[in-house]
Amino acid sequence: MKKEKTLLQEFVKGIDEINPVMKQALGLCPTLAVTVSAINGIAMALATTFVLMFSSLMISIIRKLIPSQVRIASYIVIIATFVTIADLVMKAKFPAMSKALGPFVPLIVVNCLILGRAEAFASKNNPLKALFDALGNGAGFLIVLFIMGSIRELFGSRTILGFHILPHSFEPMLIMILPAGAFITLGLLMGFKNAYTERVKRKEREDIVKNYRAVSKLESTNQGL
């Protein structure tokens, strides 16, 4: 029997436990393509979160009305609507950012993260939960994109969010703002994250064994008495 999660847990799990990029490995295309600078990463993540939030909410509200045979088609139409809105708003109000992100805003339509959450979560849970799940996943996405963007911007152009961090004597490593740098950064990030998770898990296991041993020892001495 699965334990019912609280709203806060639904939110937090998106950041760590089922982080869209690190754990589910979803939405890799924008993760790799737009993270040449931290600000691009943030903008992309915010646009994605906007779409994710509203489409999850919408799908969750009408989940009982949609016949299961046409559910994917319905989801795509709903997602595409919000993506088009995001794209139009960005083009109208933030033309420079829209140009920097290029085709990746319209491509949110096929971002598997959004369809994945719609199919796996929003279509099975109530709107409030779906909203928090979407927010959590969006936050997880934002954090990873920001970290990726910062690392790549730092080594590729010496800045983070436009502020100069590294001295001028540091020659920028062009590879970091090329696609190859995105793959290397993401691979290393995932590797370190997994290594860390493994370590925590191993420690927990060792603690359990230690506790068990201590308890059983205590019991045996008690019996001896």
């Binding site: 020659e171 062009l174 590879i175 190859a180």
Partner: protein
């Protein structure tokens, strides 16, 4: 029975094959490769100055330090004495352009060992030749300084410092064959001197550390594929001899493509591997945007080596296809 269990010298030893060991270990082979690279180091110093020795030294030093550090962090046995890190450092140092920055060299060496080798589990598990991974990284990270060449010390032509391949590709200027042979041309410090590479390479083939099939098939492939285009249009395409002597071809053929870990183990596989490398080299050199393609050709073929091994493995007698 009791004596066997109590006296360690009578302990029964259980081990899987191989049971017969060669008197040459990996360690010996690695140090032979290092000595085979010495002529190229000497030619680098002769043609590009004593500073190149420092670059090579930094590259070797940081390779060793990185390897030792990673082994230490991962709590594994420290195996730097097997010489593989030294070879990676030497190879990387020799394929860099003259007067390369020391900090970038160190970065390349760290990347070679850390990402090119240790991330896969260390020597024997790496997919790509670590030195070439490092060079590809530097090429992408610092494209300008990686293609800033310098004329050799005894240069005849002082106007341009373009490498023979880019001089041919972009300006249709031929370089004299004897200069190519000696190494008196601009290019990566260890790659220019054909004679120094041949001394080391033939030594390795002669003592059996390098299997003759790989260099032979690459050379034959370049002569055949390059020759076909040369016959079609000798003014547009360079002669096979030029293809053999120019750029990083010989160095790559003898020292990079023949890496034990990243080349096929079957004879048939070696021929396939060699011919494919030569085909990619010719394609990049004649039709690609870059003047030189040896590095990418070897890296591309490294990635399909497991596949080649799988499809060319010898079958058990009587086994059906």
């Amino acid at each position: 029975m009791e004596t066997i269990t109590t006296n360690p010298s009578y302990k029964l030893e259980l081990s899987s094959s191989p049971h017969i060991h060669s008197r040459w270990s990996t360690k010996h082979a690695m140090w032979f490769v290092v000595s085979a690279l010495l002529p190229s180091v000497i030619s680098a110093v002769i043609f590009f100055g004593i500073y190149q020795l420092i670059v090579i030294g930094v590259s070797v030093l940081f390779s060793i330090i990185t390897e030792a550090a990673i082994k230490k962090i991962r709590k594994k046995e420290i195996t730097v004495t097997d010489g593989s890190a030294v070879i990676t450092g030497l190879l990387l140092g020799l394929v860099l352009p003259p007067n390369f920055s020391l900090s970038a060299t160190a970065l390349g060496a760290i990347f070679s060992i850390a990402v090119g080798k240790e991330i896969f589990g260390g020597l024997g598990y790496n997919i790509f030749n670590p030195a070439l991974v490092g060079r590809a990284f530097l090429q992408a990270a610092y494209p300008v300084s990686m293609t800033t060449w310098k004329n050799p010390n005894y240069a005849v032509d002082t106007v341009t410092s373009a490498t023979p391949l880019s001089a041919f590709k972009f300006d249709k200027i031929f370089t004299q064959t004897e200069n190519l042979f000696l190494g008196n041309v601009s290019g990566s410090i260890g790659e220019t001197s054909a004679i120094a590479i041949l001394i080391g390479g033939i030594f390795l083939v002669a003592i059996g550390i390098v299997n003759y099939r790989i260099p032979l098939s690459i050379i034959l492939g370049v002569v055949i594929f390059g020759g076909i285009f040369w016959i079609i249009d000798p003014y547009k395409y360079p002669s096979p001899l030029f293809q053999l002597l120019a750029g990083g071809f010989l160095f790559g053929t003898f020292f990079m493509a023949t890496d034990w870990v990243t080349s096929p183990i079957t004879s048939k596989g070696m021929w396939i591997y060699g011919f494919c490398i030569s085909l990619i080299i010719i394609m990049i050199r004649l039709f690609g945007g870059l003047p030189e393609g040896v590095m990418y050709a070897i890296l591309i073929m490294n990635s399909v080596v497991p596949l080649i091994n799988r499809y060319t493995r010898s079958r058990i007698f009587g086994e059906r296809r």
